[in-house]
Amino acid sequence: MSSPIQLQTDETFVLNVGPQHPATHGVLRVKMEMNGEYIVNAETVIGYIHRMHEKMGENKTYPQYLMNLSRMDYLGALGYSHGHVLVVEKAAGIEVPERAEYIRAIMVELNRIASHLFWFGAFVMDLGGFSPLMYALQDREYILDMLEAVTGSRLTYCYFRFGGLYNDIDDDFIDAARRFIPRMRKSLIKYDKLVTGNIIFRKRLEGNALLSKETCRKYGASSAVARGSGINFDVRKNEPYSVYPDFDFDVPVYHEGDSLARYMVRMKEMEQSLRIIEQGLDKLPDGPIMPKKKPKLIKPPAGDYYQAVETARGSFGVRLVSDGTKTPYRLKLRSPTYSNMHLFDESCRGMMIMDALAFMGSLDLVIPEIDR
């Protein structure tokens, strides 16, 4: 055998991980300057699905805008609608009945589990294992059936209204949810045995793509990206909103900062969401789902309003600048994946490309949310 090849450090080539690629979870382009298999520099190019949600926010009235929020992040759509609806209710001073808030919380948590299941399937598929995708999407179909019976759609819901909901849940939904919880618990044990203990999976993820707390702070990372690096930040606990103070749940935090820590955070989050759904179903009060006194035309008073909620991908914020008319003056959507993706450019220097793609998978990206 001849001597091993020396890497020419001054010869690099540009590899275009282009907009159409099975591992980029959407239309994302990364221009990687490579030296063999190691990344010297990476530049992310986004904007291939820029659909101008913020411009539409200025041209549409408040109720007309409700449908846009589901298209932003379609996997966890109800969490985003929740943030928008809360900020407009805060601004216009609309009271929400308690039953509506409990149902909203139950729906958002079900949606969070569905989103994490899809992420889990796609992440393991990126690493090369095709079977967990089938199992995960099958479990997700149970959740989508439940949500479809109440809201009417599988993916892009338009279920929340200003002041409450438009359709109440019935006993069928409650029965289906109660049957789903033990089944999901068994599935989580199955995923643990199938994937988490697998030696190939662990070797791919353990110790790779370390993120420090300082990097997370400088970029504004949230959700599993921050909690996998030891930062205990969850908007539901730090800045409680809606009925979350009534629920008893934990926030999983891992300190290693590698891809395996981010994976474990999301798996444990699914268990905690099941706890919240159980408590929500137990404590569900009776009552109306829309307030009695609701303004016919929503015109919040002039000023600045901000609301942050914890979605499946992180801390989603809506900044509403209103001038007292029936359309917002400026509606800014602070998307969590935008801040999470931004760390990729700086952190992937010196990594091998396969570790970089596993890192990208562990960030849980949904590209239309970055581009809005």
């Binding site: 986004i46 904007g47 820029h50 101008m52 913020e54 411009k55 200025e58 900020v87 805060k90 997370c216 702070r217 400088k218 970029y219 504004g220 921050a226 930062i231 205990n232 930040f233 606990k237 730090n238 800045e239 008073p301 002039a302 000023g303 600045d304 309003y305 901000y306 609301q307 942050a308 801390s315 914020g317 900044r319 600048v321 007292g324 003056y329 400026r330 800014k332 602070r334 935008y338 801040s339 931004h342 760390l343 700086e346 581009d371 809005r372």
Partner: protein
């Protein structure tokens, strides 16, 4: 409490007297006034200073308006107090001929405090210093604000379009933009 500490640090930087809550922030009353007596109530422009806002109504604790030259010092105060950058955006006030750049900061620990820093620049030639030297995450936020409003960030390493096509020369979120 971090709110008091940050507010004191801002007040050292900005003029000593705390200004009265400006007309723009008054909820509800001024709209009715405008209907009653037309054009007699003129909105006073807000002076530079820091205000403590009602969190339950507005969603943030401290609101500081600074001049563009004081921006870097104000952001350094926030960085030393361990805030994380939430977002940067712009608002086009076409009637007053100004563009406002709004910076949002928040905290990771349980001592919650949301800080909003604003600065206003002229609409014809908007130039604001960059904060990428302090917060690396401001890179994409400033590129996006430049895309949408045309604001130039002095000292930004790579100010090219982020969300619009690379050869775009229009700024969509300005109020007088026609597609």
């Amino acid at each position: 409490m971090i709110i008091e500490k940050t507010k004191l640090a801002f007040q050292k930087l900005l003029p000593a007297t705390e200004p009265e809550p400006p007309a723009v922030e008054d909820p509800g009353e001024e709209v009715e006034e405008e209907k009653g007596k037309k054009a007699k109530v003129k909105k006073e422009p807000r002076q530079n200073g820091v205000i403590e806002c009602d969190y339950a109504v507005h969603g943030y604790h401290l609101d500081a308006q600074v001049a563009p030259e004081q921006l870097i010092e104000a952001v350094t105060i926030v960085d030393e107090a361990e805030f994380f950058i939430e977002s940067i955006t712009g608002v086009d006030w076409i009637k007053e001929g100004q563009i406002e750049v709004v910076y949002d900061f928040s905290r990771y620990d349980f001592d919650t405090c949301r800080v909003v820093i604003r600065t206003r620049v002229n609409r014809d030639n908007p130039v604001v210093p960059t904060i990428t030297t302090i917060y690396a995450g401001a890179n994409w936020h400033e590129r996006e604000t430049h895309d949408f409003f045309g604001i130039k960030f002095d000292g930004h390493p790579h100010l090219i379009p982020l969300l619009l096509p690379e050869d775009a020369d229009f700024h969509p979120l300005l109020k007088d933009f026609k597609a």
